[in-house]
């Protein structure tokens, strides 16, 4: 191609984004990326959303990606722009969210000179990304962009950084079309039929089976969730889910045991402990799920479906490993089960369900709400009312959260019926995730109801994004369970550190109603149970951004709970059940 007809690097970049189907980019300008902002100014295909902090740009891209299945795109400048994005990148890596993050860089001839706003971005982000690039030659630019999208969305998805020196953006660059192959990166998606056969043999002989599903099912797409639902109903087996996997199997289905793990249900955790065959699908045996490893599912033969071979046998040795896409693997498993004319051991399964129903009868999520109009609101009750009142309206509902007690209560009490409707920071546990993630969801689904269930501490970590909501008229609802404490910290201090509430009380909280109004949003507050429904109804009816500040019981703890270092069958059920907290060992105390 003659040089005259070639475009600038920045123009080539935008063309590549367009060819990758990108319609929105979350970003913040700076010196090193000015050529890209100039190219954005001159086109209409890609919409740029100006955030207020680069961390929020990445979380917004994550929310966009998790609610659509598409790759989320971020654009930040060099130096502080890139370092501010690091938390978001690691969040996306831990939760396997496809994100491409474009970072500006000083011109190639200045790299290594401690130039203004220079950072070793590829060095800093290497352990926080699935892969990263520094584009040193204009000839590589278009290819690298296409590769980055392929890597971000295929296999186990994750974030990819492309570091773009300013001279590469200004200089002419050739364009190449997208390709969906890579010379060394070839993720395996098709499961091995022999392993499928072994899995069917184990499953049909199971007397106490449990299906344990994770975020991998959501990542594999809505068809995978449908295949899972069909498989669970076909076999009649009980199904539990990790925090990341909620919604892949309908929460209202009688075969659903609720979430498992540290704040999972009694029935889910005891079923795991008592299982003789465990089928793990797109879940990675995280320490929040397993509890004490030595006592995890002690009697179970384990089958593990995962697209990432490094997830297999990482912490829990398994008997049958199926490497592949969760949707493909479940479809193959279903086909093999049908071809085999397999039937479950119905008598044993009926006995197993009788046992599970006895565990369910404990009603481990039970709480007591005083219904006198002036009574203090229990946080669980606030979530239940939010769930019921959102179900009563017609809009598709998406929930994001921050991190802490409110997040666990949302997971326990808000029932998710469909995948891609629940966005929460699971692996990294990033406070400040929910508001920007909700922005990304709302942009992708302008007509949907998007609610960030928040705590009053977490929300302050990215509160500046209220400005972004105002600028783009995004009607996100922020539902704050305000207990004036970093509640999960306070809970641990109460249970493990002799109620010494060191630095976990938030003195001098803002007036959230006034704060909302200063950002051109609506502020509402519920002080007692008599005001709760009215506030929720006004929030849901509003076509604007809303902060609903819900004053909840500051002393409430999140139960059930597996104490650190304990096993699934050593859960604490909480005051409703008059259980005593079991002694926590020093070994347990070091496990956060």
């Amino acid at each position: 191609m003659p040089a005259e007809t070639m475009q600038s690097g920045a123009e080539v970049l935008l063309r590549a984004l367009k060819d990758q189907g990108v319609d929105v980019v979350f970003g913040y300008p700076g010196g090193a990326v000015l050529p890209i902002y100039d190219a954005i100014f001159n086109q209409n295909a890609i919409r740029h959303i100006l955030v207020r902090h680069e961390q929020a740009a990445v979380h917004a891209a994550e929310g966009y990606a998790r609610s659509t299945g598409k790759v989320g795109v971020v654009l930040v400048t060099s130096g502080p722009g890139a370092t501010n994005a690091v938390t978001g990148l690691l969040d996306a890596l831990m939760d396997s969210i496809p994100v491409v993050c474009l970072t500006g860089q000083v011109p190639t001839h200045l790299i290594g000179n401690d130039a203004f706003q220079e950072a070793d971005t590829t060095g800093i982000t290497r352990p926080a990304t699935k892969h990263n690039y520094l584009v040193k030659r204009s000839d590589d630019l278009a290819r690298v962009v296409h590769e980055a999208f392929y890597i971000a969305r295929s296999g186990r998805p994750g974030p990819v950084v492309i570091d773009l020196p300013k001279d590469i953006l200004i200089g002419k660059a050739p364009y190449v079309a997208p390709v969906a192959t890579h010379r060394s990166y070839r993720p395996r998606t098709e499961p091995d039929p022999a392993q499928i056969g072994q899995a069917v043999a184990l499953l049909k002989g199971a007397k106490r089976p449990v299906i344990y599903t994770g975020g991998g099912v959501v990542n594999a797409g809505p068809a995978a969730a449908a295949a899972l639902t069909r498989f669970v109903r076909m076999t009649g087996f009980p199904c539990t889910s990790t925090l990341m996997g909620l919604g892949a199997f309908p929460a209202s289905d009688p075969q659903f045991l609720g979430m498992l793990g540290m704040h999972g249900t009694f029935e889910a955790n005891l079923a795991m402990h008592g299982a003789d065959v465990l089928l793990a699908v797109g879940a990675r045996f995280d320490d929040r799920v397993t509890g004490r490893l030595a006592a995890f599912c002690p009697g179970a033969k384990k089958i593990h479906i995962d697209i990432d071979p490094s997830s297999i046998n990482k912490t829990v040795p398994v008997d049958v490993a199926i490497i592949g896409d969760a949707g493909r693997a479940i479809a193959e498993l279903t086909a093999a089960w049908e071809a085999d004319a397999a039937t479950p051991d119905r008598a044993a399964l009926a006995e197993w369900w009788r046992q599970i129903d006895a565990w369910r009868a404990k009603q481990c999520l039970r709480f007591t709400q005083d219904m006198a109009p002036g009574a203090i609101i229990k946080p669980q009750y606030a979530i239940r009312r939010l769930h019921e009142l959102t179900r009563a309206q017609s809009k598709d509902t998406f929930i994001t959260t921050e991190v802490g007690q409110h997040q666990m209560w949302a997971a326990q009490h808000f029932g998710f019926e469909k995948p891609n409707r629940w966005m929460t920071s699971g692996g990294l546990g990033t406070m400040g995730y929910g508001l920007p993630a909700a922005m990304g969801v709302q942009l992708a689904h302008p007509d949907a109801l998007v609610i960030d269930i928040a705590g009053e501490a977490s929300i302050l970590m990215n509160i500046q994004e209220m400005g972004t909501l105002a600028q783009y008229r995004l009607p996100v609802k922020v539902f704050i369970l305000n207990n004036q404490y970093m509640g999960m910290i306070r809970q641990w201090q109460e249970l493990l550190h002799g109620s010494r509430y060191s630095e976990s009380y938030s003195n001098a909280l803002p007036d959230f109603v006034g704060l909302a109004e200063s950002f051109h949003a609506t502020g509402l507050r519920a002080e007692n149970v008599g005001q709760l429904d009215g506030v929720i109804e006004r929030m849901l009816a509003s076509d604007r951004a809303v902060i609903a500040d819900i004053a909840v019981d500051p002393a409430e703890n999140c139960f059930p709970m597996i104490p650190s270092g304990a096993a699934h069958n050593e859960m604490i059920l909480g005051p409703e059940h008059e259980d005593e907290a079991r002694g926590i060992t020093d070994e347990g105390l070091v496990l956060v």
Binding site: T122, G123, R126, P127, K130, H131, N132, L134, K136, I151, G155, R156, H182, R183, S184, Y185, Q195, D308, P309, S310, I312, N313, K314, P317, V318, D319, V320, A321
Partner: protein, 177 residues
């Protein structure tokens, strides 16, 4: 797939064929340090200029479960073409080179030279009070030689780390027939 043994430590010589691009060594080293794995020795050099590929040889140790995890983690790095566990996949040869400086005069110097001949070490530099020996062999052979030199005026050692290949027709890319 049988669950790997998690009780015994073993040593593994792992070869990794990678695209020869900037940052690839940092990815491999960062993986080991970030996840707390051991590196007993590490070598890297281009081996195929036409296709732009380098070979990294890592000697590590861990339980079977940890070594399987190391291989899986290496394999999912984007620029990695192939990971071979030479210790597990069949017989292999592993060689290392050392330069060993011994300083001294008199009987010790004579003894050092005699031991060097036994080990088939070459003298690559000499002054009237020093030698630099070049020695190639298995890691254990180099260790033994260096221990013998210690009382004889051992002053400095430089070692390359292990280079390794499978025996026979097998290669990291498969069988060559």
């Amino acid at each position: 797939m049988p669950a790997p043994d998690n009780n015994h430590l073993r040593s593994a010589t792992i070869s990794v064929l990678v695209d020869n691009e900037s940052g690839v060594l940092a990815r491999v080293i960062g993986l080991f340090s970030g996840r707390g794995y051991n590196i007993d020795s590490l070598t890297v050099a281009p081996v195929d200029d036409a296709r732009g590929r380098s070979r990294i040889n890592v000697v590590t140790s861990g339980t079977e479960m940890v070594i399987e995890q190391i291989k899986a983690q290496l394999d999912r790095l984007v620029p990695v073409h192939r990971v071979a566990d030479l210790t597990r996949e069949g017989p292999h040869v592993a060689r290392e080179m050392a330069l060993v400086k011994v300083v001294g005069t008199g009987d010790g110097r004579v003894e050092a030279l005699r031991i060097a001949e036994t080990f088939r070490a070459r003298v690559v530099d000499t002054t009237i009070e020093s030698f630099v020996f070049e020695l190639t062999g298995a890691t254990e052979k180099l260790d033994a030689f260096i221990e013998l030199m210690r009382p004889l005026g051992l002053a400095e050692v430089s070692r390359t780390g292990v280079a390794a290949l499978a025996r026979g027709t097998r290669t990291i890319g498969g069988n060559v027939t």
